[in-house]
Amino acid sequence: MKLLTHNLLSSHVRGVGPRGFPLRLQATEVRINPVEFNPDFVARMIPKVEWAALLEAADTVPKGPIEGYEHDEKFLRQMHHVLLEVDVLEGTLQCPESGRLFPISRGIPNMLLSDEETET
């Protein structure tokens, strides 16, 4: 699971609604996956990122998009690495509202809920 994907995940436990985001990430096994750097692509991702959630999930992240980030290669490369190259293989995701834990196994988050937990 890439950190960009984590940034887009939300819990659906009954009653949490928009408070099911962001999921608290606890990674026990991480791998770095080289991905071809495409500055335009990364630049377009930046406005879509929920920065607070990203800061919670990753260590070495700038506090926010800097002025003129679209042309700042250093910034873009850093974001590229964090969002697209860090791959969480094992760990857990925790719903901030209900505390429910979701497993990440072999890089795959399993967000399935039981019947009782499902929102109607």
Binding site: L8, S10, A27, V30, N33, F41, I108, P109
Partner: protein
Amino acid sequence: MAAPGTVMDSNHQSSYKLSKTEKKFLRKQIKARHTLLRHEGIETVSCATRSLVVANGGLGNNVSRNQLLPMLEKCGLVDALLMPPNKPYAFVRYKTAEEAKKAYVTLNGKEIVDDLGQKIILYLNFVEKAQWKELGLQALPPGLMVVEEIISSEDEKILLESVNWTEDVDSRNVQKSLKHRRVKHFGYEFHYENNSVDKDKPLPGGLPDIWDSILEKWLKEGFIKHKPDQLTVNQYEPGHGIPAHIDTHSAFEEEIVSLSLGSEIVMDFKHPDGVTVPVMLPRRSLLVMTGESRYLWTHGITPRKFDTVQASKGHRSGIITSDVGDLTLSKRRIRTSFTFRKVRRTPCNCSYPLVCDSQMKETLPSFPESAREALQLEREYVHRVYEEIAEHFSSTRHTPWPRVVDFLKALPSGSLVADVGCGNGKYLGINKELYMVGCDRSQALVGICRERRLEALVGDALAVPLRGGSWDACISVAVTHHLATAERRVAALQELVRLLRPGGMALIYVWAMEQEYKKKKSKYLRENRPRQGEDEATHSHAAEPGRLAEQVPDAGDQDASRPGSAAPDGRAAGGGARKVTDAKLPVHTNRTSFRSQDILVPWHRKGNPGRDEPVRATGSRGPDPVFRRYYHVFCAGELEEACRTLSHVRLLQSYYDQGNWCVVLQKV
């Protein structure tokens, strides 16, 4: 907090993957070995010899000599390459064992593309010599008997002339002209739509008088045990055939006999394990099917003008062996078959429940009446099935649909796209300019996405675990039709809308009830391999030859389908006011039109030979496992109507694409 823990380099990862693949490959190779021994009498040896058997590299599974020989010659001097006709294997003998060894190392497990464009894997094993079981030693399917010269030439002439093919269409002994062959029914009319007879509506006149004395004679001489009350006369011109099928268990008693006049023919009997036995039915012979040959094996006639027969045996009955030196072609003539059956009045209680419509009826689910029942139905007949068939399913879902590709390619670079019900990730990697995340309920299928290095997670389409209002686009291809109530289907659509940012677009594809639209049949109806018995002419050229249509299960043999049940929706074709309570879901017959909106569609795991499965592997002696998936196929306008109930959304496009109803929505 994410603190990069153990950083694993990709090497470690890939070596872990290899051992898993290696294990799988070994299993397949062993399966191939067993099958060859069991069905073909081919004994493989573990030490290197000059000769090898190449499983999956045979004429019988569309691998040509032109393709195989060069590959083999690259490994050494080829002494001989034997390719027995209709067999899914070949034998190669090299000048030295060293060269054979090289071939083994180089080609074992090699993936090639056959004449039909399908990917298959070759499995090589050493053999003492190139030899396979003479099919003469193999028995006919159990319960099968062919009685030769049961009718004299004089009587043959009289009987053939007695059939009036030009009778008035209004007359009760209705002559139907099917695409392939002419048919007439006596006693009871046989309905091809549901493979059964109407037991309460006998045709007046019964069986023609001319047969009375003949049937008495057959009874007396012990060729038949019961007096039949139904007769179907088929006239096959050269080039006509009949697809492989089992006569519906519940419609007829055990004994089925068929008289061949006018021409001999080769009829193919196929066991669910995949073994095919071609049987010669000489002119004026009586074919008697009982037991396994009647209940379990399918029988069919390949549509062609010549049959391959044994030269030495002349026109005598028996199995056509693959003695390559003894085969010759026999030109077909007009054959008229007279098939006598006795209508069954009680449910069938044979020993082959998995192919028995009477016995399968008890275990089939009913139309869901509540959300709870819907969930149960989906669990049992969607989720569980996909988990079981994931790998096989994925191997048949490789071609992305062009219009879905177009939709994805038209999206601006840097778009966030969610694929809800992503399956094996077919669409996730189509456009590299997008960030696509897949969500599917099947852990096994998501695992396959992951193997392909695609971002995917396990989640439910009714509670998509992605943040709302953030996605530039969503796609939902062949998903919504797996939900068992209208409310759940609408809820799934609403989820897609929730995900979209204002202005974002959703593309939705669902299977259509109408498989024939604007007079054109969908690929699902058309596409079929020639060996299934269809006319070669109906093969679509637009489709990759031999490839199965997307979105459909394998073209398994025709199921013993149940007579059409009540159509609770009332919208189904031909559905009138029928009793709805406790209505069992009908099982659909693959490659035919839908007769009801809520159905169970079979999936045969042991699909077609020639795929990367080794030569028809067998485990138990039983028929291949059939999985049934629940579908609610959509009528024209139904998807649009469902979308109209959604809030904050505008319908941009609505169209029909290869057997599917499709819409494009935009969030306002």
